[in-house]
């Protein structure tokens, strides 16, 4: 093996030396391919592992934490919720439609591999400055791809995020999350049980798709090598995935298979190695048996990332019955190997053994790095001159910024009502679906505040989690657990490594305080093009439940004359990063003040109050306050000609960010009771005003209701065209 080949496979020479010393022989090219895939950041988390271990991953509701295809939490009565988020950043930059589509396909397989039926998806997508044609092309392709795949399979999209910032000009982010429902006594794991069990291949035929995709995902790619190093792109076939999903769920409920693993990144290699490692067994696979779409070398079969494929382990006796079931769904099915007791991964082709490696070295001896990191510098405290801002100007700044506008251009391309159980569609603070045939509602939200995290990764991460928390609370969903997708630039840069370390630490902190463990996740590093790193973007997906869907709160105004209450504590003009950035007071990251300490106690106390009041049916509707402050929160609450009239002391404050911020709409007849609850809990609040028909009034200044609605609902369309 020459150095060049080794490096091309994304391994360092040191890493290679470790392998060779262990094996005491040279490697076959296929074996090198396996290490390339398995020792890649994407599969073995060599940079982040040390830090990820610090995350809280269990409590009494966690059935399955990180380590399986998806995490699972217990929502009582034998109902479990499986969920996970995953990134498809680089593939979506290269080929936005297919890259995003296969991202959705992959995360759905993670869910149904565990025996869970997917019941919802969310997507968190970020793009560069919209003024470039490239961004427009990426936005269109990505949204089309996500919609195409999810719509076709028929899983409702219930929410997500869509943000624009020049930091993503050359590295857009596409994170897809899926949620599934499983009966807790019927969960499937990837761990095989029987020595001599047959390894079977289920799904699409294998082709040249995405070979080297996994190593590519961790390479810093430079702008101009787009054409040369471009690996062949993965194309998704959602129709096939629908058949595969139905077929697999039928197989699992028939009790004919003992374990299952999807072929994700690094295809058959990683799925079979993981199987062997989980079961502490060996695998022997005959590559000649793998169903192929076109002639492929053993090397290519091992590394192909063709989509819509599964690996399962079955008892010999069930072979024919399984074949029969899958025939109905017209899915390829082949016995390709068996489980051995050798603790080795063996692949053969043409009567020759091409790979023969101990599982240990691939998995347990995978490199783990403790990379150097630096801490952010102390910030000076300053006051900013906001005297030039008036209310019209502030409204206009937000209403001409894509990040504040209604995103229906995006989510109207998604089917959000299929399956008939959607309670809250995208466009509200959290998406909510009912578990079919039960009274339970499951809610979820994805969030990230990259600017906060840039200023202070640890506190910023806490703010991010608290935003998701508020999104769920505003719907009266009890937050239960978290999945996370750590999108960062190159960890070889100590500053960026510092962002990784500190934001994981912040995540760990807040997850403990809220008792919302991290049950699954994904790491995407090297989101960087030349010397342009992305802002730290650790996206979290938070999931929760309310056992009675009738108690779910809407975010929209329900009727006129309801009283509007403001809860929470303003961060104030000098300490609201998005306010300062988007009102164009600050343009450089170094000018921001240190973030104020998040008031976690207030968050928890306020959340308790809202839950209690909602359970007593004392709240008509509620919305959280985030980017854009009270002002944007109120706009999102308007519907069907219902507007508002409010009075505030400080007009700038309504555009600022908040700790524990919520707007509640309360029926006048419940005012007394709500107030007394608030006094009792010692929660500060303010009566802001009332819900009013066709009115948009701030401190007696009237704005035209339909003009405001037009701006909020239509400007996104205008700005991207």
């Amino acid at each position: 093996m020459n150095d060049e080949i080794i490096l091309e496979h994304g391994l360092t020479l040191d890493e290679f030396r470790v392998i060779k010393e262990y094996l005491k022989r040279d490697l076959t090219i296929e074996e090198l391919g396996i290490f390339s895939a398995m020792w890649n950041e994407h599969c073995c988390y060599k940079t982040s592992k040390k830090w990820l271990k610090k995350l809280p991953t269990s409590n009494e509701i966690v059935i399955q934490g990180p380590g399986e295809n998806a995490g699972i939490i217990d929502v009582k009565d034998n109902d479990g919720i499986a969920f996970k988020i995953e990134s498809h950043n680089h593939p979506s930059y290269i080929e936005p439609f297919n890259g995003a589509a296969t991202g959705v396909g992959g995360i759905l397989r993670d869910i149904f591999t565990m025996g869970a039926r997917p019941i919802a998806t969310l997507d968190s997508i970020r793009f560069g400055e919209i003024s470039t044609d490239k961004t427009n092309y990426l936005l269109n392709g990505v949204v089309h791809g996500i919609g195409h795949y999810g719509n076709c399979i028929g899983i409702p999209n219930i929410g997500g995020e869509c943000e624009f910032d020049q930091t993503y000009d050359y590295n857009n982010l596409v994170n897809a999350m899926a949620i599934g429902h499983v009966k807790n006594d019927s969960i499937f794991y990837s761990k095989p049980k029987t020595i001599g069990g047959l390894i079977v291949y289920i799904g699409s035929k294998t082709g040249k798709d995405g070979i080297h995709g996994a190593s590519m995902a961790s390479d810093v790619f430079s702008e101009d090598d787009e054409d040369e190093k471009r690996p062949s792109v993965q194309v998704g076939d959602p129709f096939m995935e629908k058949l595969l999903m139905e077929g697999c769920l039928e197989l699992m409920s028939s009790g004919l298979i003992e374990s299952m693993q999807d072929m994700g990144a690094a295809g058959i290699t990683s799925s079979s190695v993981e199987m062997a490692s989980k079961g502490n067994v060996g695998v022997h696979i005959n590559l000649d048996k793998v169903p192929l779409r076109q002639p492929l070398t053993p090397y290519e079969i091992l590394l192909s990332e063709s989509q819509e494929r599964m690996l399962a382990v079955i008892e010999k006796d069930n072979n024919e019955k399984i074949r029969e079931i899958l025939k109905k769904w017209q899915i390829d099915y082949e016995v390709i190997g068996e489980i051995t007791n050798t603790k080795r991964v063996v692949f053969s082709s043409n009567e020759k053994i091409v790979v023969d490696l101990p599982v240990d070295i691939i998995v347990d001896d995978a490199p783990e790095y403790d990379r150097e990191f630096s801490l952010p510098k102390k910030r000076n405290q300053r006051n900013f001159d906001t005297s030039k801002l008036n209310i019209e100007k502030m409204i206009s700044n937000y209403m001409n910024n894509l990040n504040y506008l209604d995103k229906s251009w995006v989510y109207n391309q998604y089917d959000s009502t299929v399956m008939g159980d959607t309670i809250k569609e995208p466009g509200q603070s959290a998406g909510v679906v009912k578990i079919h045939n039960t009274e339970k509602a499951i809610g979820a939200s994805t969030d990230c505040n990259p600017l906060y995290i840039r200023i202070n990764p640890e506190k910023g991460m806490i703010y991010t989690v608290l935003e998701a928390y508020r999104n769920l609370i505003a719907s009266n969903i009890k937050p239960m657990a978290i999945t996370n997708n750590l999108n960062f630039a190159s960890p070889l840069d100590p500053n960026i490594m510092g962002e990784i370390v500190l934001s994981i630490s912040g995540l760990s902190d807040i997850a403990k305080k809220l008792d919302t463990p991290i049950v699954s996740g994904n790491v995407s590093l090297y989101n960087q093009t030349n010397d342009r790193p992305i802002d730290p973007t650790p996206v979290i997906g938070m999931v929760g439940c309310n056992s009675n869907w009738k108690k779910i709160l809407q975010n929209k105004f329900i009727k006129k004359n309801d009283e509007l209450l403001l809860l929470g504590k303003s961060l104030g003009g000098d300490f609201s990063p998005y306010f300062l950035q988007d009102q164009k007071i600050i343009s450089s990251i170094c000018e921001f003040n240190e973030l104020l300490a998040p008031d976690i106690d207030l968050e928890i106390k306020t959340a308790k109050f809202i839950q209690e009041a909602a359970e007593k049916d004392l709240i008509q509707s509620s919305n959280d306050i985030s980017r854009g402050g009270i002002f944007m929160s109120l706009i999102k609450m308007t519907q069907k000609n219902l507007g508002f009239s409010i009075k505030v002391n400080d007009e700038k404050d309504i555009f600022c960010e908040y700790n524990a911020g919520y707007i509640l709409a309360i029926d006048q007849k419940n005012k007394e009771e709500v107030f007394s609850m608030l006094y009792k809990d010692q929660i500060n609040f303010l009566s802001l005003g009332q819900v009013k028909l066709n009115t948009f009034e701030i401190n007696s200044k009237k704005f035209n209701y339909s003009d405001m609605m037009d701006m909020y609902y239509k400007n996104f369309y205008k700005l991207i065209n």
């Binding site: 290269i94 080929e95 076939d237 017209q330």
Partner: protein, 79 residues
């Protein structure tokens, strides 16, 4: 004059439609039809004033810039 651009996925790229159409045709009794792939047809009017060379250059540029995604597609110009 009206020209036709035929756009197809490169042969190594998965084309899910063709296979399903093929199966459907087979079940209708069209056994001899095989290796079916679906692609795109784009038809465009170009002024006759352009000479052959200008025309083919313009089309090539348009294909590369917008009409064809060369990462996964290839094209052929007719007419």
């Amino acid at each position: 004059m009206r020209i036709k651009i035929l756009i197809r996925l490169k042969s190594q790229i998965l084309e899910p439609q063709g296979k399903v159409i093929e199966q459907s045709l087979k079940s209708l009794g069209f056994e001899e039809f095989s290796n079916i792939r679906q692609g795109k047809l784009i038809e465009i009017d170009l002024p006759d004033s352009l000479n052959e060379k200008e025309r083919s250059e313009k089309i090539d540029v348009a294909c590369k810039r917008l009409l064809v995604n060369e990462i996964i597609e290839e094209y052929e110009v007719l007419g």
